[in-house]
Symmetry: C2
Subunit: 290 residues, 2 copies
């Protein structure tokens, strides 16, 4: 008979992950979002870890948290370790023959760019299960179980990134609305539709259209670009169109361009992938980027 008493328990792996994410992202709330839990859950995990350690890792202030010296000194090691773990999981998935791909995309891109392409993709890759998740902000592909992300990015493309198209904007509206807008000044007389996340679009375009005489436009705001797009299609006003998203509608005659001024926003529609890329994913990406 052998002695089998309780061994000293280490910290929970989830607590370590919560610490790492909070340290890297600079707050419990951001970490909670990445980990897909509530901020309270992260706060608790970190408290557990601090209790186990007997020492605080974050210094709480009323407007957020800051790493203590101890936290600062060790956070990097945890990030490295979890990077490596994420990479190992990536290899596992890449070598497994499971034909599963999950895409993270900006809601507008998911709906207006990806969805129209999905039927053809599914037809070309019938053995592939493709799932799409709409996210406001690009996920950390090393940590989360996404294979591909599709967002607008200003940065120069990295090694695992492909620039698909430049983001260019111009006003668009339904054909029957176009008649009532003959000059830029007329825009003040019609509803100028806006997307909540791209509030600045109109200003960006107007600054170029009327550099000397600033004008202000107003109109309803939609939380999703696709909703604003629907509104524009049904004659609800003028929308600041993003070329990648409205071009097919213009081609089909559902929308028409107003004026000829196209303004680049300085961002690019960027597809980012995890490494390593398994064969099915490679084919998927090649089709998307072509």
């Amino acid at each position: 008979m052998s002695i089998q008493p309780p061994r000293p328990r280490g910290p929970s792996l989830n607590a370590l992950r919560a610490f790492e994410a909070s340290a890297r992202l600079g707050g419990f709330t951001a970490a909670a979002e990445e980990l897909n839990v509530t901020p309270g859950a992260v706060a608790q995990q970190i408290k557990n870890l601090e209790d186990w350690l007997g020492e605080p890792l974050f210094q709480r202030t009323s407007q957020g948290v800051r790493l203590t010296a101890l936290g600062e000194a060790t956070a990097g090691r945890f990030s490295d370790a979890f990077d490596q773990l994420g990479e190992a999981v990536g290899h596992l998935r890449a070598r497994a023959s499971t034909a599963q791909i999950s895409v993270a995309a900006l809601p507008s891109l998911a709906q207006c760019w990806l969805m129209p392409r999905l039927p053809a993709l599914r037809r070309a890759l019938p053995d592939l299960v493709i799932s799409v998740t709409a996210l406001e902000k690009p996920p950390n592909l090393i940590r989360e179980a996404f294979d591909v992300s599709l967002f607008f990015s200003e940065a120069a493309p990295g090694a695992d990134e492909i620039r698909i198209a430049e983001d260019r904007i111009y006003p668009v509206c339904a054909p029957e609305v176009a008649a009532s807008v003959s000059s830029v000044d007329d825009l003040t007389q019609v509803p100028c539709l806006r997307d909540g996340h791209w509030q600045a679009d109109w200003q960006v375009w107007l600054r170029r259209a009327m550099p000397d005489r600033p004008i202000a436009v107003t109109g309803p705001q939609y939380s999703l670009y696709s909703m604003a797009l629907d509104a524009a299609r049904s004659g609800g006003g003028v929308l600041m169109g993003h070329d990648s998203l409205v071009a097919p509608l213009i081609e089909r005659g559902e929308l028409v361009r107003l004026f000829d001024l196209t303004v680049p926003t300085g961002r690019w529609l960027t597809l980012r992938t995890t490494r390593p890329v398994h064969p099915a994913l490679k084919r998927f990406i090649d089709l998307l980027a072509s």
Copy 2:
């Protein structure tokens, strides 16, 4: 309002750890021991991981498990990642000012070697909380929350190991028993106490004492060396004494040596530590090794 749907869930960290341990130790049972859970729990974790992956990682045979090609190809990455994670936790503990030390030791060493030294150690390091866990086999110091381990080892000492003493054996008994044993042959007439884990001790010693004429001794067996030692002290028979464990009792006259033959077992009492070593631990080790 933003879209916050379920993100694709990755595998649980605990499942990954169970996989890593099982792959490294070559079985669910061994992994369960290290992780301090039942084998069934490990089997379930691994099944979860395989279900998530859609592919088996182990090939089950009736006498154990073997890694599949996929498991073989990725297990190493997970070991590296968890090594790094363990190291990060080690740094965390090392920099924290918590004066907590936990020692893993062979039951016999814990009771007969460490316990007698503990009072002095606690007196010398009063601000240190020292806990001791008896284990049959040395724990993996990178993975588990031990600071120091104390076992007999045949291998040449590594970088984080200190050889404290050579393991040498010789028969001992209570003074009143010594009178009835004047030659090695007399050993067949008295109970020869044995420890369950050191069954071979008598054979090792007798092979040297009587190289030409092998004799067999018999006697009760105890699961713990300290029990056999108590039996010997109270006159229950002759015990094969390990020098490090019985020397103090001989000095105090509670036991006497029989014959003059001391046989080295080829093993060494070895103290192993984690790196990095924090200051309190350093002082502890220095005291133990001196």
